[in-house]
Symmetry: C2
Subunit: 442 residues, 2 copies
């Protein structure tokens, strides 16, 4: 494979999975991936279809019975490119400027997926490939991922492996090889508040009528105190402290708080639990966060209604050893307890996924860390992410395997934003490191 030329071809396909008009392009990208897998030497390559879904692409090579089996995951769909006017070069016309290649999907996740495929091609050229290989690539990562969820749930035998390998995360800092060993889970839903059948006039009824937005505010304010501490009874009971080793490692990470706050977040102050270290707050503590609220009159000017209804979108990020079902119950109960007089409130769950942790002493994780240390010339660090990668918990739940999350992206890759890029030295070193990782596994 001419890897850079192949990457450019891959990036030229506008496989925006959220856009129904791009369904043909998404299919084209699936076909492109399937051909890459065939060329890499995989067998049984198939585009797996399902009604109303974008295809999954599967391939395998299982001819080393004594060796471990790895399940490689990536996604070939991309985020929408808008706003187009902010791109320096068009999003689907990849352009190399300096050491970077710019295009939608360069890092998330076509570039990083191609690192895996190129490494697979390399090791399958060996006379005795060091591992058995399964590859599963999806085209719905940016739009819900229902197809991969159904498939994993229904085909645990077909996907049997010793570990999963995912390249969809980033380095903590440039030149610092990074493996992500923890992800937060999430419970996401809506709080629906009602105080009357219809809005009331604040002149006539103000002083006697419950107000749905006031009630929503009181509920929200009750669930987390001003010190950032969640006030949901029992919610923090199962929260596992990071190990002293893990915290030590976090303390040694290169970090400039001022740049983080003012250049990256562009916020006024770091907030949250003041007695908890920053990386704990981001990676090892649960959150309660409001994502949006609507209620009453929000047009121009003044309208004196007492709103009868309000809706609040909220989520809680979860950490080991919290359980989504238990957390949901605790949240629901706390909402009921915080609901003021004259008001009915309910919680409607939209999605839930558990937190994931990978043991950094797992042999596959160790092998990957050693390989990355050798290739990048700096010691690999283990971090967590405060977000969720749904397949990681899918693989953990249904296949019972850990995921090795190889971080080859960079913090400034502009994922989901204009001028997405991939740092080309990482592309080539990533292929090299992944090959070495697979050799170490064998």
């Amino acid at each position: 494979m001419n890897t850079l030329e192949t990457l450019k071809q891959f990036l030229r396909i506008p496989s925006v999975s959220t856009d129904p008009e791009r369904a043909g392009d998404v299919r084209h990208a699936a076909r492109f991936v399937a051909n890459l897998l065939r060329d890499a030497g995989l067998n049984s390559v198939a585009e797996i279809e399902a009604e109303g879904r974008h295809p999954l692409v599967y391939g395998e090579w299982l001819h080393a019975p004594e060796k471990p089996t790895l399940l490689f995951y990536g996604h070939y769909d991309v985020q929408p490119p808008e706003p187009l006017e902010e791109w320096i070069s068009p999003p689907f016309e990849p352009e190399v400027r300096g050491d970077n290649i710019y295009a939608r999907g360069a890092a998330d996740d076509k570039g990083l997926s191609l690192i895996l495929i190129a490494a697979i091609e390399r090791v399958l050229r060996n006379e005795n490939p060091p591992v058995n290989i399964r590859v599963l690539m999806e085209g719905e990562e940016e739009t819900g991922g229902e197809h991969v969820e159904e498939f994993v749930r229904s085909n645990p035998e077909k996907l049997k492996a010793d570990a999963a390998v995912i390249a969809d995360t980033e380095m903590f800092a440039p030149e610092l090889p990074t493996i992500c060993v923890g992800l937060r889970g999430i419970v996401y839903g809506e709080i629906h508040v009602q105080t009357a059948e219809q809005d009331l006039h604040s002149g006539m009824y103000g002083g006697a009528a419950a107000n749905a937005v006031q009630a929503a505010a009181e509920i929200i304010a009750a669930l987390k105190d001003r010190g950032g501490r969640i006030q949901i009874p029992g919610f923090l009971d199962r929260v596992r402290q990071p190990s002293p080793q893990e915290r030590d490692a976090w303390n040694r990470l290169p970090f400039n708080e001022d740049a983080y706050l003012h250049e990256e977040m562009r916020a006024f102050t770091l907030t949250g639990e003041t007695d908890v270290p920053l990386f704990d707050r981001l990676w090892a503590r649960p959150t309660f966060e409001v994502h949006g609220i609507r209620g009453g009159f929000i047009g121009e000017g003044a309208k004196t209604v007492i709103p009868a209804r309000a809706v609040v979108k909220v989520s809680c990020r979860l950490v080991p050893d919290q359980d989504p079902a238990e957390a949901t119950q605790q949240l629901e109960k706390a909402i009921q307890a915080a609901t003021p007089k004259g008001c009915k409130a309910s919680f409607q769950l939209l999605s839930a996924s558990p937190p994931s942790m990978v043991d950094p002493d797992n042999k596959f994780v160790r092998a990957a860390a050693d390989a990355m240390t050798e290739v990048f010339g700096n010691k690999t660090v283990f971090t967590r992410s405060g977000g969720s990668i749904p397949v990681v918990s899918l693989f953990q739940q249904h296949l019972g395997i850990p995921s090795v999350m190889l971080g080859y992206g960079l913090p400034d890759d502009n994922l989901h934003a204009p001028n997405e890029k991939l740092y080309l030295p990482n592309f080539f070193r990533g292929i090299e490191a992944t090959v070495r990782f697979l050799e170490k596994c064998g």
Copy 2:
């Protein structure tokens, strides 16, 4: 004047002041009123124009130098009729069904304004009319009332009078003649909250980033406690208790709390300050009310943003002896004090008007009460309203005169709603009572 026929003609004019396409109809209604005033015997009748405004209609009769002068106010514009499909008969085709006439504006305020004009016509037929008369009718009451405000402010001499007479309020209950002697004022504005330059991802930054909607909720929840008590320092200091006589009278008003809550408000529970009687809460206590809120993601489904901005529309109703400027300062200060860490908040004032009180022992009020008692056969009651009628405070501030608020509407007249109506017996008794009132003034 054939009063009922004239009322129907008046109601056929769709003078919706908020609708730019109805500007011609609003002008037509102004012309209609001007002609009525001329026919009633007034002099110097004029349609007063101003750029971008609907006309004011003015007329006067000032030939009784020894007699008091009354300034009559009404408005000839109406609310939009939508939703049209809920009207039993079309909104601009007045229809008498039973004892009621149905049409947009029947009660608010064409019918009640016409009561005043018909009574004026009657007394000007006398050889010695009992009072001097000025009439000012506006066409913007439902859309801000800027024209009348500018005019009153700039022409206090032209409007010199001993009292104003307004028929734009309602009876407390059917057959119970009612004069409104108090109105709440208002301070209305927006709280703008910001925590960062842009929304942040709750997976990456949840635990360290301030959330603008959470901050807005904390501010709102801090300004009023769960017992309904406003928590704005100093805000309640100037609140005047109703007199024992006034409270006694309120206690004797016919009132069915169950019907009020379940049929009129259609709410779950009466709320507010539990140690304060209901009519005090509605008429004699200030409020803090949220009218609307927006912030973050409010579309379908789940989006995990930490919102950087939120806007909340709020108002405080004011009662004697609160001052809008002082109340605004107190509110602003309380918002600043309640603003959490990592967040900037500001208050943007949209409008303010002072509370008004009329002395029920004022001779014009007494004359009106006596006249209404005679005609309606029940003793006139004095109530207040929790809302605002901006011209009442305008007249108080700029002309230094009290307003006699004759309540001829009924609580079920469907103001601002489909199937607005006027109870015809009140129309005719209102004319009779107003004539007797004017005779008593003379």
